[in-house]
């Protein structure tokens, strides 16, 4: 693969991620200001964004932070909230044929929800290349790190993302991706099972386990469908 093809893929991924990353920035600012309230320094929340790089896990752990840091409880919370990544990486795994093992190690490090979602969408239409993947990751990583650190200086003066509709950007992104994945009637029971299970789980238990519950219910619905006829090749 020539340099210009790689550069084109990096640019495609980066530009595709840019609006999503900019929508994530207000949440990064909020996280930064919340981190200061919980007694974390700008360097500490910056390190967390660099090393953990998982928005929902960071929000949750910062909200329960105490000093000295209860590392086992925080790690367990991060592990539980990120369990959905087991399914996400298993789904992405066969689409990484053109990645070297060392690149896959970095793919896993950067596998945030938005990056995974854009990569699955790309893989549904074209072979997924390292250039595209790391292009999307670069866009989110840099903006997320900058926003969380900048947020530490802005405590209290931020408008809530809801007031400018930014909270809905992720819902709208994910809805448009789901619309793209729904190519046949077989997707309908998957979606219905996922909605039912996630709503039920959330109303019973709260928290964030509803994502995993809905994901597993959708998978179960897919497994119960009659086997797909082989495409004539």
């Amino acid at each position: 693969m020539s340099f210009s093809t790689v550069a084109r893929d990096v640019r495609l991924g980066f530009v595709g991620m840019l609006p999503i990353a900019l929508a994530a920035a207000p949440f990064g600012l909020l996280l930064g200001s919340e981190a200061v309230r919980q007694g974390l320094t700008p360097a500490e929340i910056g390190l967390m964004s660099m090393i953990v790089f998982a928005g929902s896990a960071q929000f949750l752990t910062v909200s329960i932070w105490t000093h000295p840091a209860p590392w086992a409880a925080l790690a367990l919370a991060a592990f539980l909230i990120n369990l959905r990544h087991v399914l996400m990486s298993a789904s992405l795994s066969p689409k990484l044929k053109s990645f070297r093992p060392s690149q896959k190690a970095f793919v896993a490090f950067l596998l945030a929800d938005e990056i995974w979602a854009l990569s699955e969408q790309r893989a549904a239409q074209h072979p997924l290349t390292p250039g595209f993947y790391f292009g999307t990751a670069l866009g989110l990583y840099v903006i997320w790190l900058a926003a969380t650190v900048a947020g530490t200086a802005l405590g209290g003066i931020l408008p809530a993302p809801e007031t400018i509709g930014f909270d809905f950007v992720f819902a709208a992104l994910f809805i448009s991706l789901i619309t793209g994945f729904a190519k046949s009637w077989r997707t309908i029971p998957v979606i219905l099972a996922s909605i039912a299970a996630s709503l039920l789980f959330k109303s019973l238990y709260g928290g964030t386990g509803f994502i995993l519950a809905g994901g597993l219910a959708g998978m179960a619905a897919a497994a119960l469908l009659p086997p797909e006829k082989k495409k004539p090749s």
Binding site: E44, P68, H85, L87, I164, F168, V190, G218
Partner: protein, 101 residues
Amino acid sequence: MTVDPATFIAILVMGLATYTTRISGFIIGPYLPQEGRLRQALDAVPAAILTAVVAPTILSGPAELMASIATIIAARRLPALGAIAVGVAAVLVGRHFLGAW
């Protein structure tokens, strides 16, 4: 630029916990079947997980439900960015004119 040692250790362990979840699918991936019911289930992961993420938001209020429908319609005709713009505009309008459930 101060970093408390206990906080630093907590961040490292949180990173390790997160990385474990993200690498595990790549480790088990080659052993997963290429066909059959488990493969059908794995192929459904993108739609199933994304739906589970957004379901509570879609049904959180009339504005969100209306905006979600607008997003689905827009997504069938426009690229993702256009559909997102339609969805965000619809949710702002809806929140202005519609109440809660």
